[in-house]
Symmetry: C2
Amino acid sequence: MRRPTIRDVARTVGVSAQTVSRVINNHPDVAPDTLARVQQAIKDLGYAPDVLARSLISGRSHTIGIVAYGLEFYGPSRLLTGIEHQAAELGYSITLNLVHRPELAEVKHLLNMLKARRVDGVIWAIPEIGSNRKLAREISLDASLPMVFVNGDPTAVGATLIGIDNVAIGRIATQHLAAGGARKVGIVTGLADWWEAQQRVAGWRQALGDCGLSVEESLIVEGDWSAESGRQAAIDLLYRHPTLDAIFASNDQMALGVMFAAHKLGRRIPEDLSIVGVDNIPEAARFWPSLTSIRQRLREAGGRAVRALDALIGGPDRGSHDISAQTTLLQPELIVRASSR
Amino acid sequence: MRRPTIRDVARTVGVSAQTVSRVINNHPDVAPDTLARVQQAIKDLGYAPDVLARSLISGRSHTIGIVAYGLEFYGPSRLLTGIEHQAAELGYSITLNLVHRPELAEVKHLLNMLKARRVDGVIWAIPEIGSNRKLAREISLDASLPMVFVNGDPTAVGATLIGIDNVAIGRIATQHLAAGGARKVGIVTGLADWWEAQQRVAGWRQALGDCGLSVEESLIVEGDWSAESGRQAAIDLLYRHPTLDAIFASNDQMALGVMFAAHKLGRRIPEDLSIVGVDNIPEAARFWPSLTSIRQRLREAGGRAVRALDALIGGPDRGSHDISAQTTLLQPELIVRASSR
DNA sequence: CTGAAAGCGCTTACAG
DNA sequence: CTGAAAGCGCTTACAG
């Protein structure tokens, strides 16, 4: 009942284990007759090489470690889907590590575990909070563990990073609102310590400046990415600025909450209040009214991250290509619907 | 620059590798002085045992394989989060395999890969379509690979399964609508070949019968779980049955689409049309109007699946407990909001 | 309390 | 074209 080993195959055919190994690995120089008999035996016995034993000797596990966060959100889910898809295509398995609080303490422990599992590389896809990335980067360099970051500060020295241009997200959304005639544009940000949230605010500032609109700090309210926080933020904003005619919500869930508040307060969308969200989740088209949003190419970002990591790992001819750290920023795209003028 | 091995530690201290192994594994019978010196050396060198080598010899990888689907949906994401959380707690790593089309062909390939990776067990969380589960079950028995199924037909012989009572979901939703005075209750189903979708329809039928309401086949429209399909289905239903006063949508996304259609057609919610969804996604509370929905305890289902698998695998004293196949059905819960009378 | 030997399942030079 | 030997990093009996 034990799984058959390479030795079992060898015994069946009457050759050495070495010969079977050659067949498995498509080495040349196997007599056609031997080849056929070995292949037959492999089929008969249902033999499959033990990946663990192979990894032990080759030093490569063909596994990549994913450190991710907040799978209950749309963005991270899409990203993971993209990662898994591309990884499977390149022959990697994925070890998933979900982080609940992206804090310092866990970083070292996480990477130690991944190293002990001999992952070939790591994709670091938790938000940049405090110096957790810096630490991860240091450890990866120390251990010469290939690592690719997803999102976060692209100016971090020496790190390979695949990201979305979050400043552009804020800018595009705000420009669109201004172009539609908005004079006073509020913003509901994501959690303030998230890099992405900060960048979107920066884009909002830029665009207001460019359009000659005033930037008041009271136009900024922090949300926590949830619909409920969007609702509360909208109530705050509209109370502070009765003449507010547009709100940029940093994700679609919060935009939903903003809409809810607007309905409740009797503001017509988009006549009285224009609203733009971020993510372009599939449901956004069926919000009432349908939501103008910004599409991020998260699946593609995930796929690119894997390809970049694969290049760092070295592929078949390991180390032959010296890939220097590089940053890729994908551009977001505006999807106009009924919630904005 | 190479990772230190057990031999490096041994050499540093001046003992045998065997002694170091005893320290790592907390075996008794190590002289206190030796113990201390070995532990010091382990720290100094930053030694961590190679999980691969350990697995090779122990036959246990402390890794479980997850076969999942549709991470971009809320349900599967939550489930995976629950699985990962409990797995980490029990010391398992997770290998994630996303399936794009849950069809026959991939089953064998998938399980072969997982077996080659020497996973200790598998959680099978893709929808039951056709006989994909039967095949998976057979292979797992053949290979004596512990396997736990999530959702799907609980009457399948001999399989350990953690599920949600989907018939109850349909029944609770429909009873609630009837209790609110609905006389004609339409249903927007999920994809027809999904077990969950079928069960919810069955619950809807049961409840209509119990309440003495008529079950007409034209009250059933198939959706594909998306908001857009919900919108179209609602238009169909309201066209066929102008007197329809309630719609049960098999998930919240489709419920959102139903609401969209109702707004568009000028039906007031809930005065003219009551609506109930399923999943109770966080956004449901901020749909306009806020959506009555059915909560499934998916995170808990994930956690339970891991614990059940751990029991099958055998824990520390492997095989000492003979866990016979068993089924657990979690009960759903109605969350009443403004979309239903 | 401690060590020498064998082996988990495979692959990599090295002979022939 | 094929095989005997050594070894990847660890653990498991077996001696002492």
